[in-house]
Amino acid sequence: MILIVLPDIPYESDLLAKAQFGDQAALRAIYEQYFPPLYQFIRLRIADREDARDLAADVFIDFFSALQRRKAPTTSLRAWLFRVARNKLYDHYGKKRQFSTQTLEEWVPAEHESGPEARFMSAARADRVRRALGALPVDQQEVLLLRFGQGLNLEETADLMDKSVSAVKSLQFRAVSTLRERLDQGMGE
């Protein structure tokens, strides 16, 4: 089972306060902490690895620039960074504001198990999930990736998606229900 260890909020606030005074170590720590989840979030939406890298770099450049202009977030850095990443993704896909489902088709899944059999099983399972997720509406895909994949809390997800907390609760319920159905259908095929 994969565990996502997220930074606790007081530590995040402390880092942010130091970063705002130009503390290089704090800036580096923020980068080290948030690059992996942001990259994951972006990479799931963008098939081209180089593009994903560019977008992730842009997110941090925006953050450092905001720090300089004293417009950096004062509370939830994580939600702020994800919101910037989300906007970058929308910019990447243009005005239609629709993520490419083909991206998920081209996704190379993580290989957490060692050994050829385990890897095969893992790849098959990831492929099934990928197909099921790709069949969901975009907002349902997004809420699942943010809540389960990136471990954002309800408030952060609501803020990032410009929805109310209760709307996100309903959305995530619909998302897991639909995903369950799709997975079951995939099993039957």
């Binding site: 990259y39 890298r53 996704w107 399972r125 809540r147 994949g149 319920f173």
Partner: protein
């Protein structure tokens, strides 16, 4: 149980799982809903199988930092070197003051000898311009006394050399003054002499 309650329970379990608790722990907390919760939570948790490989993330993390790290250092350096707006304004004001002072210092000594020196010589004989040296400055804009000598100068041997412009006052003063100083005068000077003689 209402839909809203179930949404809250599902949400609580998602939060717990994100914090590292297992699915079984969540189900034990809500035994009445466990049967309904399990397939949903399992489905959601499967999205984690789509996470990128750690090696890929690490490699790209290092690459991106290699790109933005120096940029960040440069930005910090610029911020240190960049003075505040107040300082810039003060520097601009001081610079303007210095330039203005320099301009005045350079221009003043050139004008005074030309304008002030002739006056005593011209004023004394003609009595036309009885003003103190300060009158040299007022004479130029008014220029009212100058046109009178200009038409009179048309009868001089060099009428075409005199443009009917306001440039005359200066020449008039010079000429008046130069009357005594320089021997090689032109027709205008002669006229002015004539005028002064009339008075």
């Amino acid at each position: 149980m209402s839909t809203r309650d179930f949404h809250d329970i599902l949400n609580d379990c998602i939060e717990r799982m994100a914090a590292g608790q297992s699915l079984e722990v969540c189900l034990r907390l809500y035994p009445d809903d466990a049967e309904r919760l399990r397939p949903l939570l399992e489905a959601g948790a499967q999205t984690r199988h789509l996470l990128a490989e750690r090696a890929e993330i690490s490699a790209d993390q290092a690459l991106v930092w290699g790109r933005i790290g120096p940029q960040l250092a440069r930005q910090r350096l610029n911020r240190r070197r960049k003075p505040g707006i107040g300082r810039l304004l003060l520097a601009a004001v001081l610079l303007l003051g210095l330039l203005g002072g320099a301009w005045l210092a350079l221009n003043r000594p050139q004008q005074q000898p030309d304008l002030i020196e002739p006056l005593p010589t011209t004023m004394t004989p003609t009595n036309t311009y009885t003003a103190s040296p300060s009158a040299t400055f007022t004479a130029a804009p008014t220029a009212s006394p100058t046109p009178t000598p200009v038409p009179a100068s048309s009868s001089t041997p060099f009428p075409t050399l005199l443009p009917p412009t306001v440039a005359l006052p200066a020449t008039q003063f010079d000429d008046d003054g130069a009357d005594d100083d320089s021997p090689d005068d032109d027709g205008e000077r002669n006229d002015s002499d004539g005028d002064s003689e009339d008075h």
